[in-house]
C-alpha cells in the first residue's frame, strides 16, 4: 500500500518538476543571443548615451525620472511586499530633500554625508509611524501617513531654519558631479544600488519572511516569522529609499521649495507604482519614469498637445497628467492588475535567455497584494 502511495507522490513530484522546468535545457541560438544583445545594447544607449547628447534642462528631467524610479521602488516595498500603503510619501521624500539641503547649506556637510542623514531621517519616520499603525489590524498606515503628510505640509515645512522660509533652501550639487549630466549618472548609480538592495532583500531571510507574511500572516507567524519585526524592517527600508529619493531630487533642482511636496505628489507616487506593476522592479521603474516624463513628453511631441487641444474641452499639458494618471490607475486596477510589469514580462523572460512566450503572465495572476486586511 505504502509503495503505491509513494509511487503516486513521486509521479506528482515529477510532473510538478517537469511543469516548473519545462524550458530547462532551452538555450537560445547564436542568432537569438545576438538579438538579445542588440536589445540590451539599445537599452544601454537610451539610458546612458542619449542623455549625453541632450541639453542640460532636458537631462534634468531625465534625472527626475531616475529619482522617481527610486521613490517608486520605495513604495513598491510597502505596497508590493507588505501590502500597506503610504499616502504621505511626499512627506518622507520632502523631508529627505530638506534634510539634505539643510545639512549641505546650513551645516556645511558634504553631499554624501547629507544624503546619508536624509536616509536615516527617512528610516526613522517610517519606523515610528509604522510601529503606531501596527497596533491595530487594518490599513491604518494609510490614514497615519495621510495625516502625517498634511502635518509635513502645514507645519514641518514652515520651520524657517529647515526650509529657508518661502524662498526655499539651496541644495548645491556636489562639486565632482556639478553638471546635470554627471549628476544624472550619479543618480543612475544610486538607482542601481537601490535595485541591488531590493533584489538582495527579497533573496534573504527577511525577504522570504515578507513574502510569507503577504501570502498568509497567520501561517507565517506559526512558522516562527516575527510579523512585527519584519514588517517594521520593510517600513524602514521603504523610508530609507524615500529619504534617498528626496535628497537626490533636492540637489537635482539645486533648490528645495515646500510647494511641490504636496498631497497630489503623494498620489502621483502611488499611481506610478501601481500602474508600473507591484513586485515587478522593471515595471515600477518604467511606470515611475513614464509619469515623471508625462508632462514633458506632451509638451515635446507637439502632436499630442494639438490632439489634446482639439478635445471638446481643451486639455493643457499642465492638467493632462491629472486626468490621464488616475484613469490609467483605475484601468490598471480593474483590468490589468499586474500593470506594466505584467505586460513586459514575456520580453524580460526572453532577455533572460528563455523562450519568448507572449502568454506568460508569471506563476499566477499577479495581484496587488494577497494581504487581507
Amino acid at each position: 500500500m505504502t509503495g503505491v502511495v509513494a509511487q503516486t507522490e513521486a509521479d506528482l513530484l515529477e510532473a510538478a518538476k517537469a511543469e516548473a522546468h519545462k524550458d530547462e535545457g532551452f538555450s537560445p541560438s547564436p542568432g537569438g543571443w545576438v538579438g538579445r544583445g542588440a536589445l540590451y545594447a539599445f537599452a544601454a544607449v537610451v539610458v546612458l548615451v542619449v542623455p549625453a547628447m541632450r541639453e542640460a534642462f532636458e537631462v534634468n528631467i531625465y534625472t527626475q525620472a531616475v529619482v522617481f524610479a527610486i521613490i517608486g521602488l520605495s513604495l513598491n516595498v510597502l505596497l508590493g511586499y507588505v501590502g500597506q500603503i503610504s499616502l504621505g510619501h511626499q512627506a518622507f521624500v520632502g523631508i529627505g530633500a530638506f534634510t539634505s539641503a539643510y545639512m549641505v547649506s546650513v551645516q556645511g556637510q558634504s553631499f554624501f554625508v547629507a544624503v546619508a542623514v536624509a536616509m536615516v531621517v527617512g528610516a526613522l519616520q517610517a519606523l515610528v509611524l509604522g510601529a503606531v499603525s501596527l497596533r491595530i489590524k487594518g490599513l491604518y498606515f494609510a490614514l497615519i501617513t495621510l495625516s502625517y503628510g498634511l502635518v509635513a505640509e502645514q507645519s514641518i515645512f514652515q520651520i524657517q531654519s529647515l526650509t529657508g522660509g518661502g524662498a526655499g533652501q539651496a541644495a548645491p550639487k556636489p562639486s565632482a558631479f556639478s553638471t546635470d549630466l554627471r549628476y544624472y549618472y550619479l543618480c543612475l548609480a544610486f538607482l542601481g544600488a537601490v535595485i541591488w538592495v531590493d533584489h538582495r532583500m527579497m533573496r534573504t531571510k527577511g525577504g522570504r519572511a515578507l513574502l510569507a507574511l503577504r501570502e498568509n500572516p497567520r501561517v507565517a507567524s506559526t512558522f516562527g516569522v516575527n510579523v512585527k519585526v519584519f514588517t517594521l524592517f520593510a517600513f524602514t527600508v521603504s523610508g530609507v529609499f524615500a529619504g534617498l529619493g528626496g535628497a537626490l531630487l533636492a540637489h537635482n533642482d539645486t533648490f528645495v521649495v515646500a510647494d511641490i511636496y504636496n498631497f497630489r505628489l503623494a498620489l502621483v507616487f502611488v499611481i506610478m507604482t501601481v500602474v508600473g506593476g507591484l513586485r515587478s522592479r522593471t515595471g515600477v521603474i518604467v511606470g515611475s519614469a513614464f509619469f515623471a516624463l508625462l508632462g514633458f513628453f506632451i509638451e515635446k511631441f507637439h502632436i499630442i498637445e494639438v490632439a489634446l487641444s482639439k478635445l471638446p474641452k481643451p486639455l493643457t499639458p499642465q492638467i493632462a497628467p491629472l486626468v490621464v494618471g488616475p484613469l490609467l490607475l483605475l484601468l490598471t486596477l480593474t483590468l490589468y492588475p499586474g500593470g506594466i510589469g505584467q505586460q513586459v514580462r514575456p520580453l524580460l523572460r526572453w532577455l533572460g535567455g528563455h523562450r519568448f512566450d507572449i502568454h506568460d503572465r508569471g506563476e499566477k495572476e499577479v495581484q496587488i497584494s494577497d494581504v487581507r486586511a
Binding site: L79, G83, Q84, I85, L87, L129, V132, S133, R135, I136, K137, G138, L139, Y140, A142, L143, I144, L146, S147, Y148, L150, V151, Q154, S155, I156, F157, Q158, I159, Q160, F263, L267, V270, I271, V274, K313, L315, I319, L322, V323, G325, P326, L327, L329, L330, L333, T334, P337, Q367, I368, S369, D370, V371, R372, A373
Partner: protein, 319 residues
C-alpha cells in the same frame, strides 16, 4: 461596571467632562462652540466613511468627492435658474448616481481583490474626480449660496452661529440617530453588517450581496453629498476643485478613527473632539510653539495617540 457599554459610556462621559472643565478653566468657551460646529462637518463626512468601512472594510478616499461633485451640481443647477431646494435635491441625485457608478465599475470588479487594492482604487476615483473638476471647472474659486442665509439669529457664549451651521448640526444628529437605528434594528442594516463579515453565508440565506453593495455605496454617496451641499456653504461660500477632499476628508478620517470606525455616534463625537482641538489650537497661545498650522498637528497627534492607547477608538469595543 461589568457592562462594557456602561463602562464605555462612563469613560466617554468622563473624557467629555474633563475636556469641558479644561476649556472653561482656561477661558476658551468660544473655542468649544466653534469647534463643535466645525466638527459637525467632519462628523457628517465621517458618517459616510464609517458606513463604507462597516460594509466593505475599506477607507473610502472618494467620500470627499461625493461631496464636491454635489457642490458643483448644486452650483450649476442654481446658476442656471433652478430653485434652491430643487437644485439641492438634484445635486444629491447626482451624488448618488456617482456613488452607484463608482460601485458598479470600480468596487464590484474588485469584490474579491485585497482590501488595499480597493483602497488605492477609491483614492484613484477621488483623484480622477478632482482632475476632471480642474479640467472643466478650472482651478478657480466660485461662490455657492447657503440654504439659510441668516447669520444673526442665534448666538451662544458670545459666538454667532449661522442658520446654515445649525442646519448642519441638526442634519448630522438626525442622520447619526437614524443610521444607528438602521444598523442595529432593521433587517436591511443587519444584512449589510452580515455581508461585510460573511459574504458567502449572507448569499446562502438568500440576500443579494451585490444589491447590498449598491445600496451601501448609494447611501454613502448621499451622505457625502449632504456633507458637501450643507457643509461647504456653512464653512464659507467659496469652493473649488476637490474642496471637500482637501478641506474635510483628513479631519473626517481622524474623527472616524477617534470614534472607533465601527460606531456611527462615534463619528459625531470624534468630529467634535477634532473640531474643538483645532479651534483651541488656533485661538489659544499655548500651542504657539508648533510651527505653521497647529490644528493639523493636533489632529495628527490625536490620531496617533488614540491608535496607540485605544486602538479601537474612544467608543469602539472589539472591532
Amino acid at each position: 461596571m461589568d457592562n462594557p457599554q456602561l463602562r464605555r459610556a462612563a469613560l466617554f462621559g468622563g473624557i467629555s467632562l474633563l475636556t469641558l472643565l479644561i476649556f472653561v478653566l482656561i477661558g476658551q468657551k468660544q473655542a468649544l462652540v466653534i469647534g463643535v460646529i466645525t466638527g459637525a462637518a467632519y462628523g457628517l463626512l465621517g458618517l459616510g466613511l464609517v458606513l463604507i468601512y462597516k460594509s466593505s472594510g475599506v477607507f473610502n478616499f472618494a467620500q470627499g468627492e461625493f461631496g464636491t461633485v454635489a457642490v458643483y451640481s448644486l452650483y450649476l443647477l442654481h446658476v442656471n435658474g433652478v430653485p434652491y431646494v430643487f437644485a439641492v435635491l438634484g445635486a444629491l441625485v447626482v451624488a448618488v448616481l456617482f456613488g452607484l457608478l463608482v460601485e458598479r465599475i470600480i468596487v464590484r470588479p474588485l469584490f474579491d481583490a485585497p482590501r488595499v487594492t480597493l483602497l488605492v482604487a477609491t483614492a484613484g476615483v477621488s483623484l480622477l474626480a478632482v482632475g476632471v473638476e480642474i479640467w472643466f471647472g478650472e482651478a478657480r474659486l466660485r461662490n455657492v449660496d447657503p440654504a439659510l442665509p441668516r447669520t444673526d439669529r442665534v448666538s451662544l457664549l458670545g459666538v454667532r452661529i449661522s442658520d446654515q451651521r445649525l442646519l448642519l448640526i441638526f442634519v448630522l444628529l438626525v442622520l447619526a440617530a437614524v443610521l444607528a437605528y438602521f444598523f442595529n434594528r432593521t433587517t436591511l442594516g443587519l444584512a449589510i453588517l452580515g455581508a461585510s463579515q460573511e459574504p458567502t453565508a449572507t448569499e446562502l440565506v438568500g440576500i443579494s450581496v451585490r444589491r447590498l453593495s449598491s445600496f451601501t455605496w448609494g447611501l454613502a454617496a448621499l451622505l457625502g453629498g449632504l456633507a458637501g451641499v450643507i457643509g461647504v456653504p456653512a464653512a464659507g461660500n467659496t469652493f473649488g476643485p476637490g474642496i471637500v477632499t482637501s478641506g474635510l476628508l483628513i479631519p473626517a478620517f481622524t474623527a472616524a478613527v477617534l470614534g472607533g470606525f465601527a460606531s456611527l455616534p462615534g463619528a459625531f463625537l470624534g468630529g467634535a473632539i477634532v473640531g474643538v482641538s483645532q479651534a483651541l489650537a488656533t485661538s489659544s497661545d499655548a500651542f504657539d510653539f508648533i510651527p505653521g498650522q497647529a490644528g493639523t498637528v493636533i489632529a495628527f497627534v490625536l490620531l496617533v495617540g488614540v491608535l496607540s492607547i485605544r486602538p479601537n477608538g474612544l467608543l469602539g469595543g472589539k472591532a
